[in-house]
Symmetry: C2
Subunit: 454 residues, 2 copies
Amino acid sequence: MRSVLFSSFLLLFAGVAEAQSDSIFIRRIADEIFQKSTAYSNLFTLAKTIGPRLSGSPQTYKSESWGMDALKKAGADTVYLQKAMIPHWVRGGKDQAALISGKSRVPLAVIALGNSVSTKTGGITAPLILIHDFAELEKRKDEVKGKIVFYNHPFRADFVQVFYAYGEAVPYRAYGASRAAKYGAVGVVVRSMSESTDNFPHTGAMIYNDSFPKIPALAVGLQDADKLAAAVASQKDLKLFISTNAHALPDTVGYNVIGEWRGSETPVQFITVGGHLDSWDPAEGASDDGTGCVQSIEVLRSLKAVGYKPRNTIRVVLFTDEENGGRGSKAYSAAANANHEKHIFALESDAGGFTPRGFSFMGKEPQMVTVRAWVPLLNPYGVSAFVAGGAGADVEPLFESNGAMAAELIPDSQRYFDYHHAASDVFEKVNKRELELGAINMTALIYLVDKYGL
Amino acid sequence: MRSVLFSSFLLLFAGVAEAQSDSIFIRRIADEIFQKSTAYSNLFTLAKTIGPRLSGSPQTYKSESWGMDALKKAGADTVYLQKAMIPHWVRGGKDQAALISGKSRVPLAVIALGNSVSTKTGGITAPLILIHDFAELEKRKDEVKGKIVFYNHPFRADFVQVFYAYGEAVPYRAYGASRAAKYGAVGVVVRSMSESTDNFPHTGAMIYNDSFPKIPALAVGLQDADKLAAAVASQKDLKLFISTNAHALPDTVGYNVIGEWRGSETPVQFITVGGHLDSWDPAEGASDDGTGCVQSIEVLRSLKAVGYKPRNTIRVVLFTDEENGGRGSKAYSAAANANHEKHIFALESDAGGFTPRGFSFMGKEPQMVTVRAWVPLLNPYGVSAFVAGGAGADVEPLFESNGAMAAELIPDSQRYFDYHHAASDVFEKVNKRELELGAINMTALIYLVDKYGL
């Protein structure tokens, strides 16, 4: 009995000492990143000198070269490209819209949604019908024919986590066109997926249902959405003019950019950390998702800088085409399967470089128990919530097909949709310290997973 | 035994039911604020139409009128002014500095520190000595005579909470001039109290030690501080030109603006919630402390809007002169003493309108036990840390002299010192949702204190 107690005591003591050494090591990571991080300067280069990186655009390839270079500088053993066929949709010029009432013509801040077809040359003009939600569309389906449907479905301000408001509103952007086309609409204009106080229109992917005619789809800025709604409330016989040259070209070639740091004990086991390199075209793609890319690179750079030797192979992946189809994440997961790779963990950052609040995990309950024990180690760096939930589009396939635990950094969500997919998603909206604090927590988590396994 | 158990069960049940009703009530507060808050539009008016509000400036009085009006609109029973004699220091024109090396003259972004004396007309030019900290000043005291001391003491990047970095660096701003004057310096230039990535100089209060000559003191922007340091490292015989017309006028009259909402049960017991109305003069004073003012007004407006009847008298106080002497908080506390008022709680918001993380309290341990039990009620709104610590300059006197528990909202600290006391502290740096989330947590806390006491 005594020896059991004594052993337990030793184990307990060993546990406490281990936690202390982890705490000290994470403090070293934090010091390194706060004092010498290259995340912010990397983000400057990506956002300001390359800029928008829509799948298939010339910047797609410039950003791949930049990513390879940045990963080499961060100290990756091997840097390589992984091919994926990606969509190549182009905007084809400036999207336009105007509210027409009698002889007055009020221009509106609009942008075609990703994958929208073009209007006929010179645009189309049609009567306008304001629809709040799909239930109202069904009720008023007989009024829709020949009209442009304006979905004025606002973000729900009462959700504390703004991602829930996005989830609730985004079906109007994704499916609104085909659901209106079913009843004869000739175009749709969607209230932007945002609750910003400005008038930037927010684009994003939409998906046609092949059973119905493909009609052009645009998003309108929030101030102009309110202007449209006020006009509908006070006037009759309103018309809307819309014009876009958007169109799809044949799929083209894109690449995931991968930097590998070979494990010292079990190099055939993989830990992935990444963000996506592509962005929508009006934006510099700073918060979506330049921040996730540069934070992931910083994980590698900082762990090397503090002299860490990984047990497993750590891969930093800058995914291609997250925004418009997720072809990069599918290619990565498929290759992992084909090569019979063992993936133990995959982490992404794709919710902005805002101050970190927690991590969201997809995994088995014993894995959740393991990671939850680490919360006190990250707590000094602003992270307190370790929740079971989703893990982000680029790493979820590794959970589903490859058995890895998948996770995503949860930054504070209040500002993200102010800039999301809009021209306001610029470098200046990212705070250096908040970005670094996210990188510190990501690096600490990768360190703990690598050291203790899952 | 059975009846005791049964009673315990009932008590437990009553406790659970009460917590549920509090949870529902706080949800109503959140809905009200997220959907109908006037905090953001109030901030717009204060920051953009009144602007900088340095003690004694014409805007001091404009902002008092604005505050009275805003408190009436929010539904205060009584709105009144409380007199305080406040300092009246004026900048007197544009502050200037230049680095002089041979025939080259490089202008620098500078601003005189609050309470600085002027240079002689036309400015002064003197050799420059770079000093990193007070220990170095003491070591090199014989080299200081006739020179301008440049304190290049940077913020410590490794502190996660940026307020600690401020606390560590701020003595150079506050006491640097007199400590250098002791050894014959003719002026000081201080590296701005910030770790922003821009070049705005940050002002703030400095204090002369009457035992030594009063010499002019300025702050320099961070980019120019680095430029100065590089010049010192690479060149000899550098001189610095500085010029300021800053000077103090006799004290003048200012006012705390107070809005009272009379309690329905114990109106002679007071709960105070406030921010400070004054600001430094280069800034719109949006984050410091327009946000605290409009959040405090929102506490009153939202509680009235959801139909709450306070037990105690709730006072919203917009304090005068927090920045340059704290005369408003002293007047408020002194009046509370003179009138034998019983103050149970005083809350301030003066750390920016950023996403809320917690509250800091000064109080007795049993009071800490009481408030900590409320953490789960605020947790859904982003607040998890209830810490014992300071409570902010405007409410601490109520703890010290009047026995109230004092507290301060803790927003995320990463961005605060980017804008603090600089021209970059503008309305546009405040996010509507983050501001409202702070107001929600403040309102919920005031509700709980009013309902349950302390």
